[in-house]
Symmetry: C2
Subunit: 187 residues, 2 copies
């Protein structure tokens, strides 16, 4: 899973993996950045190139992007929405399904509460991935939280299965994965 | 000049040209569309591919994009902002400068009034380009209006000249163009 916490100044990118029956593992995490003193088109290009590089390198099964809302942070929301759009197109261009999660969905998946604070989410990301320290900066940890949210959403996987017309065997596998995950108590 | 009226359902694209001392000419106009019943990432990819195709075909000197504001049309503004971002990145990737114009700047450039109605703007686009009929649909005419706005903005050209560090000779040429355009009374 490749998670994206979209932003024009700092765009968090996190990759997590999990094999059946094993805990989620950190693969890579980082932040694509663009300096605020160049034009917006050049800033967007820097971020787009970095997203392309990450997707080519890690070849994710699903790209999960934090859903941006128009109502809050009006000053930065346009750039954030545009970066989210670039992440979606980068995935779609590679035939990779895209999932969107709201901030409260991500918090609930990682901490059990949709109203958890930022620090609590970051501590849980470190706990879940078995890291000694919280990944820095916050955007990097947030991107990992989005990827974990996606990894732990078998319902979403089943939706994708339908959307991409998986075979009955693949659907059965996804259902078994879901059951096994429930039995392990990881959600 | 390639003008873009960004939109997720319909994205107007218009190309106009003008040689020194001649009126603005229509080169091509069209609308990139995406069906509302597929996922947003697939819709954005369709529009992105079409924008790439137009830019490869017409090799514009400048791409002019209508500036999107967060405050109005909250339901569609995210998709519109994302398409604007795709147009900016498509241009930046080709080394083509990007200019942004507000709707009222476009109206003022084309009709003389920043508060002109949609139909008035469209009639003027037809008049300026010497077309017997108003280009349809409205998004196509709007994209042409944005391109004309850019074509008629010598001040913007001078800004670009500075940004792209043109030579003094090129700056002098731009200033002469501006003076000639004023003398012809085209603005």
């Amino acid at each position: 899973m490749l998670g994206v916490d979209p932003g024009l100044t700092r765009c968090g990118i996190g990759v997590v993996d999990s094999q059946s029956g094993r805990r989620a593992q950190l693969v890579a995490v980082g932040v694509a950045m663009s300096p605020p003193d160049i034009s917006v088109d050049q800033r967007l290009l820097l971020i787009a190139d970095e997203l392309d590089r990450w997707m080519d390198l890690h070849v994710p099964d699903i790209v999960a992007v934090e859903r941006v809302f128009a109502q809050h942070n009006v000053s930065t929301v346009m750039g954030t929405a545009q970066v989210a759009g670039l992440a979606m197109v980068a995935a779609a261009r590679r035939g990779v399904p895209v999932a969107m999660h709201t901030p409260s969905e991500v918090k609930a998946a990682v901490t059990g509460s949709g109203r958890a604070g930022k620090e609590q989410v970051q501590r849980m990301v470190a706990n879940i991935l078995g890291l000694a320290e919280v990944p820095k900066p916050a955007d990097a940890a947030d991107a990992l939280a989005i990827a974990i949210c996606q990894l732990w959403r078998p319902a979403a996987l089943l939706d994708k299965a339908e959307r991409f017309a998986l075979t009955p065997a693949q659907k059965a596998w996804a259902a078994a994965e879901q059951a096994a995950r429930r039995a392990r108590g990881t959600r």
